[in-house]
């Protein structure tokens, strides 16, 4: 029986029917990772002993019928989620040897429902990147074409799930870091409403933008995970008290779709968008129309200002969040510091990669005396405009469809020397982060043999609805079931 090509829902059924044990499933995926990951480099840490321990506990729960839909299912966590006793590196030399003494809330919640944590996935250093080329532990490859990037910053999670080395993984999304790799790798990735998933234990990049979420092969699987990780956390002061406590149910039926209107932002489908991509998206819109949804053109102006605003805000927050890495309390420390200043200067020179240094400096500059208004304040005002534009649009339509990326996955090395081009490729994902809205990226087709993703964006706390819409589409189509040829076997 093939295990690798099954969704979490299907694997859960197998476990429940006792057709396979969690331990067997865990060993299966561990072996698969060992065989295939050298090609991808999607994992930084694998902890077999820990995983097997958890699997045994899960098997007991299953034997006693004390299990739920996620019990015993193997998972991998993006390496910025603190895992107690397990290396958490943020793909940085700065935290190369850092083992947290506590679990992130997300990790704790998933441990408690009996998931089996196999290891930590590769990412762009400190979550700063859109291609997973900035990791201290080497680039990650896209399983669809090993010469191409998997996207970033959650490139490791996306690559691992796409190659079916793991059925589901966690990622984080600050400017598109779940959705874009999901799009590049033919996966389904959810960025929840800001504040609905706890950031406690999630190593911070940009505090007012970061959100953790699932990367999986289907909306159904994403919903399963989201149900368990969402919720108010008293340890996270930005955690939203109003997060819906109810279970997300994929309750949307075909007969209800006629009551739903979806907006298509005209500015997003301009000449800057690859023609092939827009064609594929329009084709999928046809599928949605057949399902009964209504469509309407909307306007989301000021689109062009998103990228500068996003990068100023994110870099400003990051410059402060990353000040704590100084060789004193945790992480890397330079050798034989001559004095205090030398300790700081050299530790941080050695510990951080180029992109991280750059963003720290941009952030420090944007907050510095004399530039604060011109850069930081201005960016925050643009943020309000972008957010208000969405809220206005939602008066007219219920949800919004948008491309996830202007292109399919690009070649390794193609954009790494052109930062600006890399930044600009976040054009469809960053507005959602600035506004704090929920959005899911689903695979909707292929262009030049590479996956194409599309976003479904909803108003605050409408994850159940956007997941349901995605699910309805996935029941009609099979894009999400496609597996990269090189990995479509045991």
């Amino acid at each position: 029986m093939d295990i690798y090509n099954k969704s979490v829902v299907e694997l859960s059924k197998l476990l429940n029917k006792k057709k396979v044990s969690s331990l067997e499933m865990t060993d299966y995926f561990i072996n698969r990772i060992k065989s295939f990951d050298p090609k991808l480099n999607s994992f930084i840490t694998i902890d077999e002993d820990h995983a097997r321990k958890q699997a045994k506990i899960a098997d007991e729960l299953i034997a006693n019928n004390n299990n739920n839909l996620l019990t015993g299912i193997p998972i991998a966590h993006k390496d910025l989620f603190s895992t107690k006793g397990m290396l958490t590196t943020c793909a940085s030399k700065m935290l190369e040897n850092y083992t947290p003494p506590f679990d992130a809330t997300i990790v704790n919640k998933l441990n408690e429902v009996g998931m089996v944590n196999i290891g930590k996935t590769n990412m762009d250093e400190f979550a700063m990147g859109s291609s997973n080329e900035s990791s201290y532990f080497g680039v990650v490859k896209n399983p669809w074409d090993l010469k191409k990037v998997p996207g970033g910053s959650s490139g490791g999670s996306a690559s691992a799930v796409a190659a079916r080395l793991i059925p589901i993984a966690t990622g984080s999304d600050t400017g598109g870091s779940i959705r874009q790799p999901a799009s590049f790798c033919g996966l389904t990735g959810l960025k929840p409403t800001y504040g609905s998933v706890s950031r406690y234990g999630m190593i911070a990049y940009a505090s007012s933008l970061d959100q953790g979420g699932p990367i999986a092969t289907s909306a159904e699987d994403c919903a399963l995970l989201f149900n368990k990780i969402k919720g108010y956390d008293k340890n996270d002061p930005t955690s939203n008290f109003n997060t819906d406590q109810d279970e997300v149910k994929l309750a949307l039926k075909k007969q209800d779709t006629k009551n739903i209107t979806i907006g298509i932002p005209k500015e997003y489908f301009s000449k800057d968008l690859d023609r092939n991509i827009s064609d594929i998206i329009y084709q999928s819109i046809e599928v949605f129309k057949k399902l009964g949804f209504n469509f309407k053109e909307i306007s989301l102006p000021d689109h062009d200002y998103t990228i500068p605003a996003y990068y100023i805000i994110a870099s400003a927050e990051a410059s402060s969040n990353l000040s704590r890495y100084d060789g004193v309390k945790f992480g890397h420390r330079c050798d034989k510091p001559k004095n205090l200043e030398d300790l700081y200067l050299r530790t941080r020179k050695e510990g951080f990669g180029k992109e991280v240094k750059k963003r720290i400096m941009i952030g420090a500059y944007a907050l510095s005396s004399g530039y604060y208004d011109e850069y930081y304040m201005k960016a925050l005002k643009i943020r309000r405009i972008i957010r208000d534009n969405f809220i206005n649009a939602f008066k007219d339509v219920d949800y919004i469809f948008a491309p996830t990326c202007p292109s399919t996955a690009f070649d390794l090395g193609e954009k790494s020397s052109d930062a600006l081009e890399m930044y600009l490729s976040d054009i469809y994902t960053t507005p959602v982060n600035l506004a704090g809205l929920p959005a899911i990226s689903i695979p909707v087709g292929f262009s030049n043999n590479m996956p194409v993703g599309m976003q479904i964006i909803g108003n605050y706390f409408t994850e159940a609805n956007i997941l349901s819409i995605a699910h309805l589409f996935q029941e009609e189509t099979g894009w999400h079931n496609r597996i990269p040829e090189d990995f479509d076997h045991e």
Partner: protein, 93 residues
């Protein structure tokens, strides 16, 4: 004008040591980035309030209670400590 000397200033604020090669690299990169930001120059924003968080919610404060199970073993993660104190090069005041 963002140039090499500005990079030096900013690197000082950010406490990151840069060598000459770095100085050139980062000043080029950041200048490029700032060109992108300059596209926002013509925006009329005087009547717009900054948005710090979205969705906008209010502060949730906690009761003044001491943790009954305090974890004070964080010091073990330090690259240089003696079990009691963190150790840094002598600070001159």
């Amino acid at each position: 004008m963002f140039d090499k000397s500005k990079v030096k200033d900013v690197a000082k604020l950010a406490m990151i040591e840069l060598d000459d090669e770095d100085l050139i690299y980062f000043s080029d990169e950041i200048v490029e980035f700032l060109k992108l930001v300059n596209q926002t120059d013509n925006l009329e924003l005087s009547k717009i309030e900054p948005l710090y968080h979205a969705p906008e919610i209010s502060l949730h404060a906690r009761e003044d209670e001491v943790d009954k199970n305090p974890k004070n073993d964080g010091i073990n993660s330090s690259p240089k400590h003696n079990g009691k104190h963190f150790i840094v090069p002598k600070v001159i005041e």
